[in-house]
């Protein structure tokens, strides 16, 4: 199942870059990756504050 998933995903993803047919399906936009990266960075940076705040809450 993993092999088939990777194979089909690879075909759909890479063939889309060379397919000249205008009736292609929409690609994923990159906002999801920006959200993941930005959110992770923000979470790591704000961790000390969250840590202290959470400990004060449970007190």
């Amino acid at each position: 199942m993993a092999y088939t998933t990777a194979r089909v995903w690879g075909f759909c993803y890479f063939y889309d870059w060379v397919n000249p047919d205008p009736r292609r399906t929409a690609r994923l936009d990159y906002y999801i990756m920006a959200g993941t990266a930005g959110g992770f960075a923000a979470g790591v940076v704000s961790n000390p504050i969250e840590l202290v705040f959470t400990r004060m809450q449970v007190d």
């Binding site: 906002y31 999801i32 990756m33 959200g35 993941t36 990266a37 930005g38 959110g39 992770f40 960075a41 923000a42 979470g43 790591v44 704000s46 961790n47 000390p48 504050i49 969250e50 840590l51 202290v52 705040f53 959470t54 400990r55 004060m56 449970v58 007190d59």
Partner: protein
């Protein structure tokens, strides 16, 4: 709530930060906290936008669009981020066991141990261990998203905002998405607003 010997008794954020630095655990649970925020940022806006735009097709400029889209987004945000929040909470508040060792080595270890000891049917439990307090979490998330959209509306309706955001000045609903509104649609929106806005 905790017995006196268990309290950390931080006097404030600064005092707490200094004590945490002394303890050497400033970045404990950072991976889980990062994963939690990343999950929220990467999941909620997409669902919100999809729901809002699809119901807009049927309802026009109704408050229902924003309401149900925010509800769906909060549900998805809760589903994907609460497991990481549960891990973060345990990492942030854990105390040494009687033998002096810490219960969890890192965020991933916490995830594995929660899944093994609390999330297994063998121990009469299930993956709900990752979703404890989910209802309150949902209400909080929904409230934050709901209120912040009206604050954004207020801000976008002001004078110091660029022309890009002008649809907000004509009561066309904006949200946390960045759609470009083209003139014909905006004109139609204004017409619908003037006639049937509810």
């Amino acid at each position: 709530m905790l017995p006196e010997g268990y309290k950390r008794n931080y006097k404030g954020i600064l005092d707490g930060l200094m004590k945490v630095v002394d303890e050497g655990v400033l970045m404990r649970g950072a991976a889980a906290n990062g994963a939690k925020l990343a999950a929220i940022c990467a999941s909620m806006t997409n669902a919100f936008d999809w729901c809002k735009e699809n119901s807009y097709f049927y309802l026009g400029p109704s408050w229902i669009n924003r309401f149900w889209a925010t509800g769906v987004a909060a549900t998805i945000g809760t589903a994907v981020s609460l497991p990481f929040d549960a891990i973060r909470m345990r990492m942030h508040t854990m105390r040494p066991l009687p033998d002096g060792r810490l219960p969890y080595q890192n965020s991933f270890d916490c995830l594995v141990k929660m899944n093994h000891y609390e999330g297994a049917a063998k121990h009469s439990s299930n993956l709900n261990c990752f979703f404890a307090g989910g209802q309150a979490y949902w209400v909080r998330l929904f409230g934050i998203c709901w209120v912040s959209q009206y604050i954004l509306d207020y801000y976008h309706g002001g004078k110091n905002v660029s022309e890009f955001w002008s649809p907000a000045k004509h009561k066309v609903q904006t949200g946390i998405d960045y759609d470009v509104h083209e003139p014909f649609t905006d004109g139609f929106n204004q017409f619908m607003n003037s006639k049937w806005s509810v």
